[in-house]
Subunit: 225 residues, 2 copies
């Protein structure tokens, strides 16, 4: 399994980039360093110029790969969720019990993907990036166009997989998709809250409270009480 994970090259929607970053050295160093730098500076202070100087290239060169920094964020986000889906598929491959599979899925959402030193992007870094920045990439005026061009496919696919597990457990539950998207988004926000708005939550950044909270929440919600 480790070697398979190591070799995984995720397919993301080609509308996300101008030129596939994995088709060249420069492209790879762009996404690699961007992951670090966006996290370090935050989207508002991140610029292609700063990124260019970090990787010894120029602004214009980066624009050939990504239309702008917003698209680069969406690209990394898509990559993250595709990676999450791989993790889910592998981790649940030989689990028959749907409740067990749901447990794995929730753990994945709460704790982020497994750490594997892989060839392309570090999923641990990517998780931090997604916690801090990804929602800003959704909540924009351009979301409708982006939605239409299929840019959120990875997020959708991941969500659908977990919805399917829920429907397996309780076929009469009315809101599987709403529940799944709530957990996907809230697990990120609660991670953020525990670090920056501690009064809004009982959870500690590295504690197991979030996992317990979300597991209990989901299990109770989909049960026929």
């Amino acid at each position: 399994m480790e070697s398979i994970l190591k070799k995984i090259r995720v397919d993301v929607n080609s509308n996300l980039y101008q030129k596939d970053p994995f088709s060249s050295e420069l492209g790879v160093s762009i996404v690699r360093e961007a992951t670090r730098l966006i996290q370090e500076l935050g989207m508002e202070n991140f610029t292609f110029k700063k990124l260019a100087s970090k990787i010894g290239s120029t602004e214009a060169a980066i624009y050939r790969y990504f239309e702008n920094k917003h698209m680069l964020l969406l690209y990394l986000n898509a990559w993250y969720w595709a990676w999450m889906e791989h993790n889910l598929v592998f981790a649940t491959a030989n689990l028959i019990d749907p409740e067990e599979r749901l447990g794995v899925a929730i753990r994945l959402m709460v704790d982020g993907p497994l750490y594997r030193e892989n060839d392309f992007l570090d999923p641990k870094q990517l998780h931090l990036l997604v916690v801090n920045e990804s929602l800003k990439g959704y909540l924009t005026k351009t979301v409708d166009n982006e939605h239409e061009s299929g840019i959120f496919a990875q997020v959708y696919k991941f969500g659908e997989r977990i919805s399917a597990i829920i429907q397996e457990i309780n076929p009469t539950y009315q809101f599987p998709k709403t529940l799944v998207s709530t957990v996907m988004e809230s697990s990120l926000l609660q991670n953020f809250n525990s670090r920056h708005l501690p009064g809004m939550t009982e959870a500690k950044p590295e504690g197991g409270e979030r996992l317990n909270f979300f597991k209990e929440l989901v299990v109770k919600t989909i049960s026929n009480a």
Copy 2:
């Protein structure tokens, strides 16, 4: 009750502004028009210059009231949650049953504040603004400084009130604050999802699904099953 709501002037943390916008005509027209314009353009395309030209003033004049557009957003956000708290207090004042009060609170979070044509800001407009833009105001690198200067006091106060209701219903429930912040944040995101990422949810923008979803989720979660 109506006349009281009409007269309510919310107190927000003075770190949010340079000069109290309710201390002058210009200030009032800034916050009033900003609510509309931020919503129309989205934060990324909103500028003080555009706002100034709408209200027949100048950029520099607006900078006298707010340090930058980010602080203006946080100001409007604080105003929103303070208004929400007023709504909650009035709507639950004569309800004894904590479960009934919780129901009112959830409805408020899901549907936003009551519409009252009031003297200052239109809560309906503000709700749309908060749905689309407010989370971007939290998820920043400056959140820790802002947190320290008490800028999120209104959000906290609203959350604490509802946590208290939950603790009244079930004093043994472990995560009241986490649950409340989840509902506060997710109800906004689900509103957004229903409009822009419809595949992520069963809810329709104007339907009652979200309310049912969140009510069921909270009631089941805090029950001792």
